[in-house]
């Protein structure tokens, strides 16, 4: 069914979800909040992968599955594909989206806070906050990817790296 809703629905829902968990339910426990947000993403990814793999032959190996995530899956979600896929051929894949929509349209202005999450605790408090918010937002897509892959029989860990915004790369480490 080609049903659609306005993008601002999704955006505001995500923003609200993140802020509820970070600022209201687990205000002082960011790692708990993160885990919940990731869990939500996981369920969504799990269900979406079930949907989007309908009508297609089974994947014969991990790479095929990852490619599926990069191409069809991503375009279903963002109307664009992953721009760059790298791998070390030992179970680690890096999926880079040069302009990750959910960051681009986020309330916090990415340019303001200086890149990599780890670095900017040096930066001022507000930027820190922004960075934290950003990272919180990223737990959701990470969860989606992990959920999708694990449903395709690939248990893995997914992390995000926004050291050069607005590009965002997701690092998938497949559990051997």
């Amino acid at each position: 069914m080609g049903r659609e809703v306005s993008e601002s629905c999704v955006d505001s829902l995500l923003t609200e979800m993140v802020s509820s968990y970070c600022d209201r339910f687990y205000a002082n426990k960011p790692e708990l909040a993160a885990r919940r947000i990731e869990a939500i993403g996981f369920q969504v990814g799990h269900q979406l992968s079930e949907r989007y793999t309908m009508e297609r032959p089974r994947f014969s190996d991990h790479l095929e599955a990852i490619k599926f995530i990069c191409k069809d899956f991503w375009s279903e979600l963002f109307k664009k594909q992953i721009d760059n896929l790298k791998t070390n051929h030992r179970g680690t894949f890096v999926l880079q989206d040069n302009r990750f929509r959910w960051l681009a349209r986020m309330s916090v202005d990415p340019s303001s806070e200086g890149g990599d999450l780890s670095q900017d605790n040096s930066a001022g408090a507000p930027e820190n906050k922004a960075a934290q918010a950003t990272s919180m937002h990223l737990y959701f897509p990470c969860g989606i990817i992990r959920g999708a892959l694990s449903n395709l029989g690939i248990p893995c860990a997914v992390s995000a790296d926004i050291s050069n915004l607005p590009a965002c790369s997701f690092v998938v480490r497949i559990k051997a």
Binding site: E50, T53, E55, P57
Partner: protein
């Protein structure tokens, strides 16, 4: 009752455990159908593990006829997420096309069922909507293309 008729459908999970199994016969052999479905899992394994031997094309979700029993034919389907669908039909000449078509619709129903936020993956499917949808699909089986 239609010429070609489905007597049993099943969804089988990762540990080969039944997630949903429903039979549609007046005859009192639901239990037998359980057995047939369970046995068919052996063939599914065989097909998936060495696809070249059986003629079926590589990695296609539709696994084709698994085996004919005394009065039934058993067909299989394996989703990308490693969930197995099994359908048992009466042993009149069933066209592959019909079965494929059935599986396609069944898969769609399944996906919607597991899209229910309250469904826990790997657990039995108790959704009533799903049950209803399945029974309608089953009823309309073969009618579309049946001469």
């Amino acid at each position: 009752m239609p010429e070609k008729m489905i007597v049993c459908v099943a969804v089988v999970g990762h540990q080969n455990n039944p997630l949903y199994i429903q039979s549609f016969t007046e005859a009192d052999d639901a239990l037998k159908l359980h057995h047939i479905v369970h046995c068919s899992l052996d063939v599914v394994d065989e097909r998936v593990n060495n696809p070249k031997k059986s003629g079926s094309p590589l990695n296609e979700t539709f696994l084709g006829l698994l085996y004919p029993t005394e009065n039934y034919k058993v067909y299989g389907y394996l989703t990308n997420t490693k969930v197995k669908f099994i359908v048992v039909t009466t042993d009149l000449d069933v066209r592959d096309a019909d079965v494929r078509n059935f599986f396609r619709r069944f898969h769609a129903a399944y996906v919607d069922a597991v899209s229910n936020p309250f469904h826990v993956p790997g657990k039995k499917i108790t959704s009533r909507t799903f049950a209803e949808r399945v029974s309608t699909i089953v009823k309309s089986f073969g009618l579309s293309s049946a001469g």
